[in-house]
Amino acid sequence: MSVAATTPRFKANVHDALHDQRLQGALPHARNFIGRRADAAARLPEFDALRDSARAIKDHTLAHLDLYLEAYERKVVEAGGQVHYARDSEEAVAVILGICKARGAKVATKGKSMISEEIGLNAALEREGIAAVETDLGEYIIQLRGEAPSHIIAPAIHVTRDDIEADFRRLHRDLPSDRDLTQPEQLLSEARAILRDRFLSADVGVTGANFLVAETGTSLIVTNEGNGDLTQILPKVHVVLASLEKIVPTLNDVAQILRVLGRSATGQDMSVYTTLSTGPRRAGDPDGPEEYHVVLLDNGRSATLGGPFADMLRCIRCGACMNHCPVYHAVGGHAYGWVYPGPMGAVLTPLLIGVAEGGQLPNASTFCGRCEAVCPMRIPLPKLMRTWREREFARGLGSPLARGAIRVWSFFAKRPTLYRLAVEPAMRLLSLIGRGRGRFAWLPFAGGWTRGRDFAAPEGATFQSRWRAKSGATQ
């Protein structure tokens, strides 16, 4: 793992994030995604039908994953590439180090890859004396800062332009101190110039893959900057690092999913560069890598198939769920404490690092349902988070107070008459006391709520009693 999980300290992370003025200043940028996605979806009448189509394609693929993997592997080999299988992060790292060492590599450039974060590739390369250079602008910025991505498609969304200027001045040794870097354009030019040299001197290029196409043995990346392309066409070796579930049967299937990916992620109909790579340089090709490797990572995904969390394997990493999540908007990505933040991270993290380590994340949801509403692959994220909560409870994890409270509530919830007898007078009382202001600034046993916001006063009768009255009146 590139970063040790701080997920077990989630509550403390959240507290820190909420009181981090700098972070709170940067986080509103994440909300820009909402309008962009909505506009892109509105401009395409077929958008929701395409979501259904994309979901069906992934479900079909996952139900035949072994066979599509076989077909994919055959095609990669036919095109002159090599396929390596890795059961876990350690095996994936070992394969990539082996490829780098065989070439005597000193510099590896990297396209943006969340799997590379998942396996902790940068730290492993650096330990072996190989410089790992992130080339996506956001990834480059956070690598300079020694941080992990706080968003799966906008890794530096927690950073302000002033932070970036300070980092460049601190770490770019040849940067004249009188160079103006106050504008984003100037920061970009500075990073572009530095990275151009690294692209041209790299021995190995590592990219992720948005899709692996069984029909042709192709890996496909979707980017806006062009860094992924420079990473893979300039060095002698191209390593594609991808997890098993990236497989898609055919190019036509890719076309379906691409139409929902860009729109859901950044609100783009198509990202700028959609690049299909099939094997190494061919006879007569004047450029392109001499070696083409694919490292296929399992890390528990094969065991997830067919189980209660199998829906999660449809995820195409667009980030829409976190872009629309009120919890993510409030605390940012780092508070989640591991590689994947937001609702998708809350479901995926316990799968990948265990419920004991990651079990707090599924509690970080208001169950507002926006994540499921915008998920292009229609993953029932709230349902999956609820399943984790049930497991956390069944395994005796979680705070004793919360467990006790749930037990008390469940005792009453299973006895409707008792529940009504207990709740109706309590609500009437609260309503009576709170009538003046309509809300409570403080309530016994609810300090955790009222410290941060007021509690709305009930208006009198409970839902159940009003329903009884209403149906009594209409019958």
């Binding site: 906008a154 076309a255 560069y273 198939l305 067919g306």
Partner: protein
Amino acid sequence: MSARDEIFASIRRSLNVGAVDDPRRAAVAQRLAAPPIGIVPRRGHGDAAERLATFRAEAERVQATVAEVAVAAEVPAEIARFLRENNLPATLRFGDDPRLAALPWAETTLEISRGPSEGDDLNAVAAAFAGVAETGTLALVSGADNPTTLNFLPDNHFVVLFADDLVADVESVFARLREKYGPGALPRTVNFITGPSRSADIEQTLLLGAHGPRRLHVVVVSE
């Protein structure tokens, strides 16, 4: 057991299937042999003139520029004009594509060089394999004719698109690729390019020319 064998065994255990499973194999073989076309948006469809209008509108939405010329012989003058009007050096690099090599470059003052990019070229031109009306996208294929490095290293990228190669959707490009390279085969690289390079990684501010070209100028040849 090797990692590969163990992963396949784990998948089959989870799916509760055996390795020999004829109905599943038949379903997979059929999909790969005859890739179904799913839902294709209407946006890109229409006659040639409508497709061109959609292509232009979509490409311009993503900050590409589009010019139309009647015949291929007018391409060099159009590129020279673009460079002049944007105060850019009159240089240009391209590969072995016969459609580009045949053009009357000598009628311009452009300084022409040939071959893949080493990283110090400012301007390059490529001939597109196809264009996609739906999204204003260009499809380029690797090889000596149009080296992939020319698509990314230069600052200003020109792409010549012949009107006959402007299709409605990405699926039509895939059909043309299958026709040219055979079923289940592709050139080393296929680049779908939609507008010039960009990044929004600094405070979500859209900036052009992140690592790839800052400008993308498409010259559509009507002939």
